[in-house]
Symmetry: C2
Subunit: 106 residues, 2 copies
């Protein structure tokens, strides 16, 4: 996940997921790959950007709130969320946002 | 910048700044430190979260659009933006977002 998300003109939605890992990363990389692959297949998915050093920040972009809600309740995603809470993440915060404007420099 | 932002209950605003660096980082660290310090002093500033590996993602949180606009036009910030475009950043994208909901795990 090293590319810029090629999002459409606003409005659209962003989910900002900020996390701190426990240090136990057993199974994490495989699950992360699988979950990203699955997210991309969801209706309303527009893109994803991710970076990690001490904190991890992953921003996924979505067409609307309905798409985000559906993805949150996706069975495989729920399994990953549970594993995240019991093993990988010490702390995380999720913010659901309406992107009102964007601009870029290239 | 390794801590979670201690933001209030929504609604508030987020500015998602996604960047790719050129590899020329002369003067970057000092300017980044200075700009973060300055941002924290602005009216309406609520917090900031940052991570970088290949991509850099910095999310700053603000009380309202007026605070964001004022910060965007701050003189020292404008100088940093210009230096960013001419030296440090190959590409960046900025998204202005209304945070509608948030939840956390600790």
């Amino acid at each position: 996940m090293s590319d810029f998300a090629n999002t459409p003109s606003p409005p659209y939605y962003a989910v900002i997921f900020t996390s701190e890992q426990t240090g136990n990363d057993q199974g994490y990389a495989d699950m992360a790959t699988q979950i990203r692959k699955l997210a991309k297949q969801q209706e309303g998915f527009l893109g994803m950007e991710s970076a990690r050093d001490k904190l991890g920040i992953t921003v996924s972009y979505w067409k609307d709130l309905a798409s985000i809600k559906k993805w949150k309740l996706n069975t495989e995603h729920l399994i990953a969320q549970h594993k995240g809470q019991t093993a990988w993440y010490k702390q995380y915060k999720t913010r659901i946002c309406l992107v009102e404007r964007d601009y870029e420099f290239k």
